[in-house]
Symmetry: D2
Subunit: 306 residues, 4 copies
C-alpha cells in the first residue's frame, strides 16, 4: 500500500538549499502537489510569490543521508491553467556574437493558449509568418528540481549542478525516473519551473512557462552513491552533466555514464568505452542558463543483452 | 536523363583544398565511386595511401562559383569489406580531467566483423563484459567530406569548418542531402572517412572505420549563398556549426538555422525565434576532433504548415 | 579619527552568504583580525574549523543596501606562522587531456618554511631538481573574500561570482582597494584563504596556504551600483570576471571595465573601445576553481590625462 | 661573420603553407626585409596585395627537416610609415553577449599618426572623451608569423596553431627569440601583420596596423623537437598555446612549458609542478582571432638557480 500525500504548498524557495522541510515522507510515498510557474504565478494566474523558478518543497525523505541516492518517479506533470508564456527572441549567447545586432532588442514575450483537454499549445498572437503554425502538442516537463546541495549551500534556481536544479532538459517528463546524490539528511527534494513545451537548449530563455499539477514518488536507495543526476525513461539510461562550457557538461555526463555502467551493469571502463563509442547518444538540455546541461545516454535494450 | 560517372580513384588527399580536379561533372550528374578508410586501407584491406581521412576527389562541379551553393545527395553509402576498426578507449578530453587516470593507457583498438548482407557489425574479440553484445545494425555514414575552402587554404582532414570536413556526424547517411557554400571555382567536392556505425560525439576517436562504396549526385544552386553546411534528411532541415568549444558550434548552427528559415521560408528572426524556441532540436556530431560539430534542426512538417 | 576594531573570530563559514553578522562596523572603520588557512588551521597550526576556505566574518557595514558599493582597503596581509603548504602536481584540467597520464597520481603536497622576518618562502623538502631553488619572496594575498550574494544564496567558498569569493588572484595584496556590489543589507563582507605566494592560475590548486593577520577598512559608496568586483592597486584600475570558460570571464571583465570607464571617467563605449583596444591588460587570476577569474585593467596614468 | 640578406618582397601570401621559397638562407643568416600591413598596404601607403595579414617570405632554412626547431631572433621591428589604423569598437565576442546591443554598429576605424623619430602614436581624430589622450609610446610587434604546417596544409593568416600564425601577442617584439617546430623541409618561415602598438587580447580586432621594416636571423636547432612555439625575451622563457576556448590555449601553453622545463632544464614534471605552481605567469595574446593565444612563462633568473 502506497501512502499518498496531498500537499498544498504555501511557501516557495528561489534557491535549492537546506530549507525547513515542508513535508516528511517515507521511501515509496507518493506526493500530489502543484508548482507555480517560473515567474511565481499559480494555476489561477495569481502572482503569489516572487519569480525566479520558485520551488515547491522541500520534501524530507526519511532515512536519506549523505552518500545515499534519492529517486524521484514522476507519475504525472500536467499544466493546470490555460495560458503560458515564452521569451520572444533567441538569447544573444545562443547565436554568433556578431549576429546579435541582427536580432531585435531581445525584449518581449509570446503568450500561448493551452488546451488542457487536447494537450496542445497555440500562439495567442503569432508574429508575422507564424499565423498558420497552429497547435503544437504538449510535452510537459519540469525545468528545475533537485536536492539540497552539500555544505549548507543555497544555490540559485537560475542554475544547476550535481544537485540538479535548473537543468531545463525537455526529457524530464512524466514517466521518467531521476536519481540524485543525497548531500544532506533527508535529501530535501524541491521542484518547480514547469514547461508545457520546450525546444532543445531553451534558447529563448524559457519553455512555455506554466503552473503544473505534479504527482511523484520518492524512493531511498540506501547506500548507493552517485555523483551526478541519473535518469531512466524506459528506453534509455542517462547521466546528466551541468556546467559551462557545454564541453564540460559533456565531460561530466560521459564520466557519470561510464560510472553507471560499472556500478549498475558491471562493465569496466574498457568495456564501457567499447559500448559507448558506437552507441552513446547525447541530448542538449539547455544552453541558456548559467550552467548548461548535457545528457549522455545509452539504450536499455543493449544493456539487457549483457 | 542523368549522367552517371563511374569513378575509380587513384590518388587521395588528406587535406581539403584547391587540388587538381579528379573529375569534372555537370549539375545533376551522379558519381559512383569508393573511398578508403580513415587509415588509407581500401576494400581489399590494402594500405594504398597514407592515413588521415584520405579523400576521394575532388570533383569539379561545372559552373560553380564563389557565392553559389553545392548540393550533394547521397544515394548510397555501403561498407565494401568485412572488417572495421574502432578506438579502444574514450578520449581523455571527453571525460572529466581527473578521471583520465581511471582510464587505461588509451591505446589499442577493437576490430569488428561486418556482415555486408545482414548489415550488422559484431566485435571480433569483445572485451570482458561485452561477450554477449552480439550484432549491432549498421548505420553507414561519411565522417569527412566537403568543398575547397576560400583563399587557397588546404585544411587538414582532421578538422572541420564552414567548408565541411571532418564533421563526424552520424546523421550524414544515405538519403541525406547536404549543401555547402562554394568558395572556389568548381566547388571541388571531396569525400572519405566512412563509418559503418558511430555513436554521438565519436568519443573513442573513431566510428567503425571502413572503406565504402558511395553513390551520390552533385547539384548547383546558382546564386544561392549560405555560410555553413545545411542538410535535409527528409524529416528535418538542419544547419551545421563546426568549432570549439561546443558552445560556439551551437552558436554557428543556431545562427545558420535562423538564416535558413529567413532565406528558404521567409521567416524573419522574430518569427524564427518563436518557432525555434519551442521546436529546435540539437544533435551532437563530434566532441573529439579539433573542431566539434553541432547540428541545429527543425521538423519539415512544421515548416510545411506556414 | 578612524575607529579600529580588533576582532577575534570564533566561528568560520565555508560558504559566503547571509550569515549572522560577526561584527557591525561603520563606513571608514578599520578591522584588525586574522584568518585560518584554506584547510581550517590557525596561526598555531591547530585545526580549529573544517576546511574549504573558511571565512572570517561576515562584517556588517552600517547603511549598506542593495545597489550600493562596498569598498575594502587592505592595509596589511601578513602570514602569521612559519609553515605553509601547496599542492604537489599541476591539476589535470590545466594541461592537455592526453598529457594527464604523464603526470603522477596528483596526490601529495609540499611544505614551505616561511621566514616571517625576511618575508621569504623555501621548500622544506624540495623535489629532485629544485634543491637549489632557495628562497622566494612572499607576495601575500587573499584568495577568497567577498560579500553575501543576492536572493538568500549561500555560495561555496570553492567558487566565485559577481559577489567575489574564491577568485584566487595574486594581485589582491596589501595596498589594493577592491569594490563589490552590495546585494543584501549590510553587504556582509567575508575573508579568508590566505596565500603567502601564488603563481598565476593557481594551477597546483593552491598558493602557499597559510593563516594570516589582516588589517582592512570598509567604506560605503552610497548609491553607486556596479556589477562585478572592481579594484585599484595604485597603478591600474581593474574589473574582475569570474566564470568558466576563461573566455566568459574575459567577457565579464571587459564589459565591466567599459562600464567603469563610463561611470567613473565619463568615457562612452566608443571612446572606451579606442582606449582599451591598444591599452588594456589582462591578468589570469585562477584557472583551477569551478569558476575561473580574469582581470581586465588599464593604467591610471592614462586616465589622468583625460 | 654573419651573412646578411637584403630581401625585397614582391609576392605575399595570406596563408602559411608550403609555398615556393622566396629566399634560401643558412642557419645564422640575417635577413633585412619589410612587411605590408594587415590590409596589404606598404610603406608608401600603396595597396600592393590583397589583405588578410599578407606574409613576406617564405624563407627556406637550409638543412631544416621535420623534427627540428627553427629559431627566429628579431633584431628590429620598425614601423616604416607615418600612419596606422585600428578598429573602432571592441569585438562582440570580447564582451557579454547581452552587452553587444550597447555597442555601436561595430564598423569604422581610427587612424593614428606615428612619429617615427619619437616612437609614438597619436589618434588623428580622437573620439569625444579622448581629445587629451596624446601620445602613446610604440611597442612594435609582429602579429602573424610562423612556419609551414605539416601535411601540405595551407592555413589562413587569420588563425594560428602549432605552426605559429596569427598569434597577435604583444610580447613578440624586437629582442625576442621565438622557436618553432619544423614540419616541412626548410621550415619555410613567413612573417607579417605588424602592429605599432597593441593591447592584450587585440580586442578591437587590430593593433595599430602598419607596414614594418624587419631585421631578423634564423637558426637551425638540429634534432631538437618541440610541439608549440616557445620564446625567450631575456627575462622569461615562454610557451605559446593557440586554440579556442582560451582554456585550451592555457592547457597547450602549460603543457609545453612543462616539457620545456624537462627538455632544457632537466626538471621532471613533479619538480616542474612545484616550480610553476607558485611562479608561473600567463599572458593573454589575443582573444579575437579564430584561435586565441595564451602564453605561459617563468623567469629565467629562477631557472638559473637550479
Amino acid at each position: 500500500m502506497t501512502t499518498v500525500h496531498d500537499f498544498e504548498p504555501t511557501h516557495f524557495h528561489t534557491t535549492i538549499g537546506s530549507h525547513e522541510p515542508a513535508l516528511r515522507v517515507a521511501s515509496g510515498d507518493t506526493i500530489r502537489t502543484w508548482t507555480v510557474d517560473s515567474g511565481g504565478y499559480d494555476g489561477n494566474g495569481e502572482h503569489i510569490t516572487p519569480g525566479g523558478n520558485p520551488q515547491t518543497g522541500p520534501f524530507y525523505l526519511e532515512g536519506a543521508e549523505p552518500g545515499d541516492t534519492l529517486r524521484v518517479r514522476f507519475h504525472s506533470i500536467r499544466p493546470n491553467r490555460a495560458r503560458g508564456v515564452t521569451g520572444a527572441w533567441v538569447a544573444p549567447h545562443t547565436v554568433d556574437p556578431h549576429f546579435v545586432r541582427r536580432l531585435g532588442d531581445g525584449d518581449g514575450e509570446d503568450w500561448w493558449v493551452l488546451d488542457l483537454e487536447r494537450g496542445t499549445a497555440e500562439l495567442e498572437n503569432p508574429p508575422p509568418g507564424l499565423e498558420s503554425l497552429g497547435e503544437l502538442p504538449f510535452e510537459p516537463m519540469l525545468g528545475c528540481f533537485g536536492v539540497a546541495p552539500a555544505q549548507g549551500q543555497a544555490i540559485s534556481c537560475a542554475t544547476s549542478g550535481e544537485h540538479g536544479g535548473n537543468m531545463d532538459y525537455r526529457g524530464f517528463r512524466a514517466g521518467v525516473t531521476v536519481d540524485f546524490p543525497v548531500f544532506v539528511e533527508g535529501g530535501l527534494f524541491h521542484l518547480g519551473d514547469g514547461h508545457a513545451l520546450q525546444g532543445d537548449g531553451e534558447i529563448v530563455g524559457t519553455g512555455i512557462e506554466v503552473s503544473m499539477d505534479v504527482e511523484f514518488s520518492l524512493d531511498l536507495l540506501k547506500g548507493k552513491t552517485i555523483r551526478w543526476p541519473r535518469a531512466d525513461d524506459g528506453t534509455f539510461v542517462m547521466a546528466v552533466g551541468n556546467a559551462r562550457p557545454l564541453d564540460q557538461a559533456i565531460q561530466h555526463a560521459t564520466t557519470e555514464l561510464l560510472r553507471l555502467l560499472e556500478q549498475d551493469h558491471g562493465l569496466d571502463h574498457r568495456a564501457g568505452s567499447a559500448l559507448l563509442g558506437q552507441c552513446i547518444r547525447y541530448d542538449v538540455g539547455n544552453v541558456y542558463d548559467p550552467a548548461y546541461a548535457a545528457v549522455a545516454k545509452v539504450e536499455k535494450a543493449l544493456l539487457e543483452r549483457l
